[in-house]
C-alpha cells in the first residue's frame, strides 16, 4: 500500500521542477511581466506550501527509524513555512522583506536534515549519493534567498535560486533504490 521511497522522491521532484521553472520564468521575463497575471505570483509559494502539506503523510508512513521520521517532519514544516511566508508577502499580509529569510531558513534546515538523516557514505549507493548531493545543494542554495532578502530585485540571485530548485529536481528524479553510483554499489547494499 505504501509506495516505494523512490516513487515518493519522483513525486517531490516534480514539485521542485515546478518551483524551479516558475522562478526561471520570472527571471527570464522579469517580475513585472510575470505578475501581469496575478495567479502566477501565487504559483511557486502555493506549490511549496502544498509540497509541505504532502510531506506529512511521508512522515507518518515512513517510520523505519526515528531519524527518518524527524527528517521528514522537518521538511514538511520547512516547506510549509517558506510557502506560507511567501504567500503572505504576495497577498500583502506580510510587508517586511525580511520574511524572505524564511525561504533561506527552510532550505538550510532541509539540507541539514537531509545530511543528518543519510547515515551512509557518498558512494554507498545512488540514493545515499543523491541525499548528500541534495543536502549540500540546498545548504549552498540557501545563500540565494538569504542575500535576496537584502537585495530584493536581483535577477542573478533569483536565477541562482531557480537553478538550485532545478538541480534538486534532477537529483531526485535520478533516485533508485539500491542502484549503483558511478558504477559503485556497496557490498552491504547488494
Amino acid at each position: 500500500m505504501i509506495p516505494p521511497a523512490e516513487t515518493v522522491h519522483w513525486l517531490f521532484a516534480t514539485g521542485f521542477l515546478v518551483l524551479g521553472l516558475c522562478q526561471l520564468g520570472e527571471t527570464l521575463v522579469g517580475s513585472t511581466v510575470w505578475e501581469r497575471r496575478r495567479w502566477r505570483a501565487y504559483l511557486w509559494p502555493a506549490t511549496a506550501f502544498g509540497m509541505g502539506l504532502f510531506m506529512w503523510p511521508v512522515m507518518v508512513f515512513f517510520t523505519s527509524s526515528t531519524l527518518h521520521m524527524l527528517a521528514h517532519g522537518a521538511w514538511a514544516q520547512a516547506m510549509m513555512l517558506a510557502g506560507a511566508a511567501e504567500l503572505g508577502r504576495v497577498r500583502g499580509k506580510l510587508k517586511d522583506p525580511r520574511w524572505e529569510l524564511t525561504v533561506a531558513l527552510a532550505l538550510f534546515v532541509s539540507g541539514g536534515a537531509l545530511l543528518v538523516h543519510e547515515q551512509n557514505s557518498w558512494l554507498f549507493s545512488r540514493a545515499a549519493f543523491l541525499h548528500h548531493a541534495i543536502g549540500w545543494t540546498a545548504i549552498a542554495g540557501s545563500l540565494f534567498p538569504l542575500v535576496r532578502a537584502f537585495r530584493p530585485g536581483s535577477a542573478p540571485l533569483r536565477a541562482g535560486f531557480a537553478a538550485t530548485m532545478l538541480a534538486v529536481a534532477v537529483l531526485l528524479y535520478c533516485d533508485r533504490s539500491f542502484a549503483p553510483i558511478f558504477g559503485h554499489l556497496s557490498q552491504l547494499a547488494r
Binding site: R91, V116, Q119, N120
Partner: protein, 435 residues
C-alpha cells in the same frame, strides 16, 4: 557576528562528517509478522534487513509475558541480510521479540514487536519490558490538551462568540493564539509518540534515533491515532493559514470542524475505546467531554488574552455571549464526565482506594472550583455587565479561571495515563443467571 560565523562553520563541519562508513540497516520484514497470531510454535524468528548486518549476542530475544527468555543463540541466515534465532516450544500465549543488529557503521539498529501463539498479541506498547507512562508522559499529554484548547477554543470563540468583523488587533491575537495551538498540537504529538516508542523499545536516546518505529506506528491504537491526528492537524494548520490569508471565515469553520473531528483520535485510542465496558457510547462521551472542555478553556483564555487587552469594544458583548455558550459546554462536560466516571469506577470506594480514583477526586475538586468561579462570573458579573461597564479586575479573574482550567487538564492527563480499577468479578450466582 564572529561567534555566529563560528557556530555556522562548526555546524557545517558536523554535517560534512557523516562519515565514510556510516551505514545503518532498515528492517524490511519479520517472521512472525507484527502482532501475528500463529496456530503453532514457529521454528524460528527471522528478521530481513535491506542490507547486510552483523549478528550480536542479543540480536533476537523472544520473551514470554512473564519475561522468560525462550529464544536460542541468534545467527546470520544464508542471506547475510537475514538474522534468525530458533525458539523453544512456545505454549499458548503472547510473546515479545526484542531485536538489535549491528550495521556496517557500528550503529546498532533496534526494535520490538509482538506475536501470539493461539492467543492475540498485545500492542508493542504493552510488550514485555515496557514500563508504562511516566511524569514526562503526563506533562506531554497535558501540553497536548492545552494546545488543543488554544486551537479549538480559539477557533470556536472566534466563530461562535465574536462572530462579525473585528479589529485588526483582535484578529492578530486570535491568529497567533490559534497558530501556536495548531503548531504545538503537531509538535507535542510527535514528542508524545516518540516517548511512547522509547518506552516500548526500552532504548537510550542515541539508540532510539535508529529505532524502528513501524511496529508502534502501525500496530497500536496509539500509533494509528498519531498517524490520523498528525495528518488531520496538518490539514487544520493549512486551513487556518488559508483563512488568515484570504480572510474567509468558511475556512475557519472547516478548520474547527476538522480539528474537532480529529480530536476524536484521543478518545478512540484511550480508556474509552479499549478498557472493559467500553463501547461506542463511551468513545462518544469521551470525545464530547474532551471537545467541550478544550473549547471552554480556550474560550476563557481568548476572553482574557485576545479580547480584554486589545479589543475593549468587544468586551461586554463577548462576555455575555460566552456566558450563554458556557452553560451548554459545562452541561456537556459534566454530563459526559459523570457517565465516564460511573463506567470506569465499579465502586464508589474506588474514589479513595484506587490511584485512578484519587486523581479523579483531585480533578473533581478542581472542576468544582472552576464551576464556582464560572458561577460567580455568570450570576454576579454578567448582570453587572448588562447594566454598565466591566468591573475592575475582571481580566485577572478570567485569568484565574483559565489557570484552574489548565490545572484540570493536568489532572485529566494523569487520568488518561492511569489504569482504572478492574471491574469486580461477578458472583457465581450472577454468572449463572447470564447465558
Amino acid at each position: 557576528m564572529r561567534r555566529l560565523l563560528g557556530i555556522g562553520l562548526v555546524a557545517l563541519t558536523c554535517l560534512a562528517l557523516p562519515g565514510s562508513a556510516w551505514a545503518h540497516a532498515t528492517l524490511k520484514r519479520t517472521s512472525p509478522d507484527y502482532r501475528q497470531q500463529l496456530e503453532r510454535t514457529p521454528a524460528r524468528v527471522t528478521l530481513e534487513f535491506d542490507q547486510q548486518v552483523m549478528v550480536m549476542p542479543k540480536s533476537i530475544q523472544v520473551f514470554s509475558a512473564t519475561g522468560r527468555l525462550l529464544s536460542l543463540q541468534p545467527r546470520l541466515g544464508k542471506d547475510p541480510r537475514v538474522l534468525e534465532a530458533p525458539v523453544r516450544r512456545l505454549p499458548r500465549g503472547a510473546y515479545t521479540v526484542r531485536w538489535q543488529a549491528l550495521s556496517a557503521d557500528g550503529h546498532v539498529v533496534s526494535g520490538v514487536f509482538t506475536f501470539g501463539v493461539r492467543a492475540p498479541a498485545p500492542p508493542p506498547s504493552e510488550a514485555y519490558g515496557a514500563k508504562g507512562p511516566t511524569l514526562r508522559d503526563h506533562l506531554v499529554r497535558w501540553a497536548y490538551f492545552v494546545s488543543l484548547a488554544l486551537l479549538l477554543g480559539g477557533l470556536a470563540f472566534r466563530l461562535l462568540v465574536v462572530r462579525g468583523n473585528v479589529s485588526p488587533a483582535y484578529e492578530r491575537r486570535f491568529y497567533r493564539m490559534a497558530g501556536i495551538g495548531v503548531v504545538a498540537t503537531l509538535e507535542v504529538g510527535i514528542v508524545a509518540f516518540l516517548l511512547r516508542a522509547e518506552d516500548a523499545l526500552q532504548l537510550p536516546f542515541e539508540r532510539l534515533l535508529y529505532g524502528n518505529l513501524a511496529a508502534i506506528a502501525n500496530g497500536t491504537r496509539f500509533g494509528l491515532a498519531f498517524i490520523a491526528m498528525t495528518l488531520g492537524f496538518a490539514v487544520v494548520a493549512a486551513l487556518l493559514f488559508l483563512g488568515w490569508l484570504t480572510d474567509r471565515r468558511e475556512l475557519l469553520w472547516a478548520a474547527l470542524l476538522v480539528g474537532i473531528g480529529f480530536a476524536s483520535g484521543l478518545s478512540l485510542s484511550g480508556h474509552s475505546a479499549v478498557d472493559a465496558g467500553s463501547s461506542w457510547a463511551s468513545e462518544l462521551a469521551d470525545w464530547i467531554h474532551l471537545t467541550a472542555g478544550t473549547i471552554w478553556l480556550g474560550s476563557v483564555v481568548s476572553l482574557a488574552v485576545c479580547v480584554w487587552p486589545v479589543a475593549p469594544e468587544l468586551r461586554r458583548e463577548a462576555f455575555l455571549r460566552f456566558s450563554r455558550l458556557a452553560i451548554v459546554l459545562i452541561a456537556l462536560i459534566v454530563g459526559a464526565g459523570i457517565y465516564l466516571s460511573v463506567l470506569r469506577l465499579p465502586a464508589v470506594s474506588d474514589l479513595w482506594t484506587a490511584g485512578y480514583g484519587r486523581v479523579l477526586l483531585v480533578k473533581l475538586a478542581l472542576v468544582c472550583l472552576a464551576l464556582a468561579w464560572g458561577a460567580i462570573h455568570h450570576f454576579v458579573v454578567r448582570p453587572l455587565l448588562e447594566r454598565g461597564p466591566a468591573p475592575a479586575g475582571l481580566v485577572r479573574s478570567l485569568a484565574g479561571e483559565g489557570a484552574v482550567g489548565i490545572a484540570i487538564l493536568l489532572a485529566a492527563a494523569i487520568l488518561v495515563d492511569s489504569q482504572p480499577p478492574p471491574a469486580a468479578p461477578r458472583s457465581p450466582a450472577q454468572a449463572a443467571q447470564t447465558p
